[in-house]
């Protein structure tokens, strides 16, 4: 490493090396064969996405895209959606930068500058967000460049600017929370805010459309009408990022400069207090808040005690909020639909039941990971006089009951409207949750609860399979609410996915 020690480039090189090894370790597990497989899969996946993007935009792009209100509104809307997601991610990452220890104690106890470390770590957050957004948007940008000219490649620096700006916003909001709420409350509030920001746009739009039309169908057309009616004039400053993405050099320069200035100013303001606030966050562990003393010890079976322990730990998990709140927020639109259509058995119930099933499956996956893989006292539980089967069953029951408690109000409300749909929903939710738990069992690892947020990056295959089964079970449940026969047919792919997972994982475990 040639850079001067503890300088900004030196910290950046150190950080890059750690992140690179972390990423490659997680993705390939150190196996060159797995790395090659992953590369081939990524290339094929990207090619597939490019093909889909080509189909979606070919006609629009080949006709020539003019920077009219409609186009600018569409680009700004998409950008806003990505910006909220990026902001949500950045808020969580910035909070972690303050609260997660790892090497922070080592560096803060050294004579190295904490300001430089902060600048590098927040810079890394912006770069990560930039790479993720670029990867997602690349198929559309590339296909627009192919069909409508290379000016569309200017969208990449715009993505970079959006990522840099959202990171700056995340730093500013975290800093404000530290000032307003103190170190103890900031972690929880920041997570709640991050989840709300991440889901706000999609959930908000859906609820707005549902309340204005009474239905969830045709959101796209309703939205574009709403957008056009409230859109500012074509020369408004609001359209600058959209113009920049379309290759307007002046708009591009302005967008990038604005983001860099915002980021630089925020880092300059936040960096000096980083060490103090990070130390304040450490101090939280030294303040031990007394809990309400239990009057007497509870008695019950081993399974009961295991479930009780899991529920206590789930309720007290500080990172669970950020990981699950978004899934719960997505239940708001179906709740709005239920509210509006109460007493009306129109076509909305299958959609409602499908969304609830999807959310339940996603939530089950997360809770199952925490209870099965994220057992902090693994050795303790293994030395207890109970069979592994009983222990596992108790953990699964803890998840199933938690999901049941969360979804029961919806099912009961639906039962008052249409009992058969409620029964179908209950069955669908049970199957979807069971499938998500089954996947977690097949891909179980020995991890710490604190690694929960990284579970999706730790096993991409598990994440993809979990998402696929959630979607297929949600679809099958929604269709079953219309016609049980349709539902049965739609459940076949979901069952096939689980069968493939079982066969592949069984083979892998025996190898």
């Amino acid at each position: 490493m040639s850079a001067q020690t503890a300088s900004l480039p030196w910290f950046a090189a150190h950080e890059f090396r750690l992140q690179w090894r972390d990423l490659t370790g997680m993705l390939t597990g150190g196996s060159p064969r797995r790395a090659t497989g992953l590369l081939i899969f990524t290339l094929l996946f990207m090619a597939g996405l490019h093909w889909i993007a080509d189909v979606l935009i070919r006609d629009w792009a080949t006709a020539g895209i003019a920077p009219d209100i409609g186009t600018l509104a569409q680009l700004t809307g998409s950008g806003l959606l990505f910006a909220t997601m990026s902001l949500s991610q950045a808020m969580e990452s910035v909070t972690r930068a303050y609260y997660t220890r790892h090497d922070l104690d080592l560096i803060l106890s050294s004579p190295a500058s904490a300001r430089r470390l902060f600048a590098v770590r927040t810079g890394a957050i912006a770069v990560t967000s930039m790479l993720m957004m670029s990867l997602l948007m690349a198929p559309f940008i590339n296909m627009l460049a192919v069909h409508d000219g290379p000016r569309w490649l200017a969208a990449y620096p715009v993505i970079a600017a959006v990522s840099i700006f959202t990171t700056a916003l995340a730093i500013a909001s975290t800093l404000a929370l530290f000032r307003l709420a103190g170190a103890r409350r900031t972690r929880v509030i920041a997570q709640i805010l991050a989840a709300i920001v991440g889901a706000a746009l999609i959930v908000g739009i859906q609820i707005a459309v549902i309340f204005s039309t009474g239905t969830a169908t045709g959101i796209g057309s309703v939205l574009s009408d709403m957008f056009i009616s409230v859109a500012p004039a074509i020369d408004s400053l609001i359209w600058i990022p959209a113009r920049a993405a379309m290759g307007d050099p002046a708009a591009l320069m302005l967008t990038v400069l604005f983001a860099l200035t915002a980021f630089g100013a925020t880092v300059a303001i936040a960096a000096p207090s980083f060490a103090t606030l990070a130390i304040a966050a450490t101090g939280l562990n030294e303040v031990r808040k007394p809990q309400r003393a239990a009057k007497t010890f509870a008695s019950g079976s081993q399974a009961h005690m295991m479930r009780r322990k899991e529920w206590l730990l789930l309720i007290r998990d500080p990172w669970l909020i950020s990981q699950s709140l978004m899934q719960l927020l997505y239940l708001l639109p179906p709740a709005a639909l239920l509210w509006l259509n109460y007493g009306n058995t129109g076509g909305t119930l299958p959609i409602v039941i499908a969304i609830i099933t999807m959310a339940a499956a996603q939530l089950s996956g997360g809770l199952a990971w925490l209870t099965i893989s994220g057992e902090d006292a693994h050795d303790l539980v293994l030395t207890a006089p109970l069979t592994p089967r009983l222990m596992l069953r108790a953990k699964i029951e803890a998840v199933v009951i938690a999901i049941g408690v969360l979804t029961a109000p919806f099912i009961i409300a639906i039962a008052f409207i249409d009992l058969s749909v409620a029964i179908t929903g209950a069955i669908g939710i049970t199957l979807a949750a069971s499938a998500a738990i089954f996947i977690q069992l097949m891909f179980r690892v020995r991890a710490k609860r604190s690694q929960f947020a990284r579970r999706q990056t730790a096993s991409r295959v598990a994440t993809i399979v979990e998402a696929l089964t959630s979607i297929t079970w949600a679809g099958a449940t929604g269709l079953a609410a219309v016609s049980p026969l349709f539902g049965l047919f739609a459940a076949i792919p979901a069952i096939l996915i689980l069968a493939i997972v079982w066969l592949v994982r069984r083979k892998a475990q025996h190898a």
């Binding site: 809990q291 509870a298 008695s299 005690m305 006292a377 293994l382 207890a384």
Partner: protein, 258 residues
């Protein structure tokens, strides 16, 4: 010594990872005995104890706890055993009382009895003022004491301790030692690994020395001194002598093979 008088009986135990970790170990520990297992780093001590606690499957050999074969009836054996490792197995977000309540539930200790015992243990270990605080902010020593309380709440017949005094301050170490000695005087068997030879010298009735997965010497301090030919020496001198005696032939063997 009849089998019934043995708290732990290990016969021809073998375990191999990428290299042999335990090579045909035989070990007998009487009921109510305090036994210290010593050995250099990587000697196989933790592997042996993890197999006794049911955390690892032996490749070969047999382990019997108070007459119960751990392979054929693992649950019955686990009822009698408590395991405390150097990394305390404690939940950050439970209080010591909640933790003890959970463990008592796993080991089927009746709630009333568990509660009384929990109060007693926390009192002995000086944890009563922190009984209703979450363990997340505890020091290593406090966590280790909570883990020890967890190990004792179900009244085990055999306590396996892997480096239990690592990271404890003098006061905490003394509290833990007192509790352990009290348990031994009540008839409980303790098998403990430690790198603090003074602790082994003062507390253990018999000491076993492990090197390269084998038991190379065993007995009281006097017997070990005699084996090493160093009467009146400290355990540290005897231990280093025994280990170096064992290492020298293997190094010579490797050289001659080369």
């Amino acid at each position: 010594m009849s089998d019934l008088a043995l708290a732990l009986d290990i016969k021809a135990l073998k375990k191999t990872f990428d290299r042999p970790a335990v090579r045909g170990l035989d070990l007998k520990v009487k009921q109510g005995e305090f036994y210290a297992l010593l050995g250099p780093n990587g000697a196989g001590k933790t592997t042996i104890l993890r197999m006794v606690a049911g955390l690892l499957q032996p490749d070969e050999g047999q382990i019997t706890v108070c007459g119960i074969n751990t392979a054929t009836d693992p649950v019955a054996a686990k009822r009698l055993v408590a395991w405390v490792s150097d990394e305390p197995m404690v939940y950050d977000r439970l209080t010591p009382l909640e933790y003890l309540e959970f463990i008592a539930g796993l080991w089927h200790v009746p709630a009333e009895q568990a509660e009384t015992r929990a109060q007693e243990l926390l009192g002995w270990l000086g944890l009563m003022p922190h009984a209703n605080e979450r363990c997340g902010g505890f020091s290593k020593g406090m966590l280790q004491k909570v883990a020890l309380a967890g190990a004792l709440i179900h009244d085990p017949r055999l306590i396996i301790l892997d480096e239990p005094l690592t990271g404890l301050d003098a006061g905490s170490a003394r509290q833990v030692k007192n509790v352990l000695l009290e348990k031994v005087s009540a008839g409980v068997t303790i098998v403990m690994t430690t790198h603090i030879l003074e602790v082994a010298e003062r507390m253990a009735e018999r000491i076993g020395v492990i090197a390269s997965g084998r038991l190379i010497a065993e007995g009281t301090l006097a017997e070990l001194q005699a084996q090493a030919g160093r009467d009146g020496s400290t355990l540290e001198d005897v231990f280093l002598d025994l280990v170096s005696q064992h290492e020298v032939p293997s190094i010579a063997g490797e050289k001659s093979a080369a």
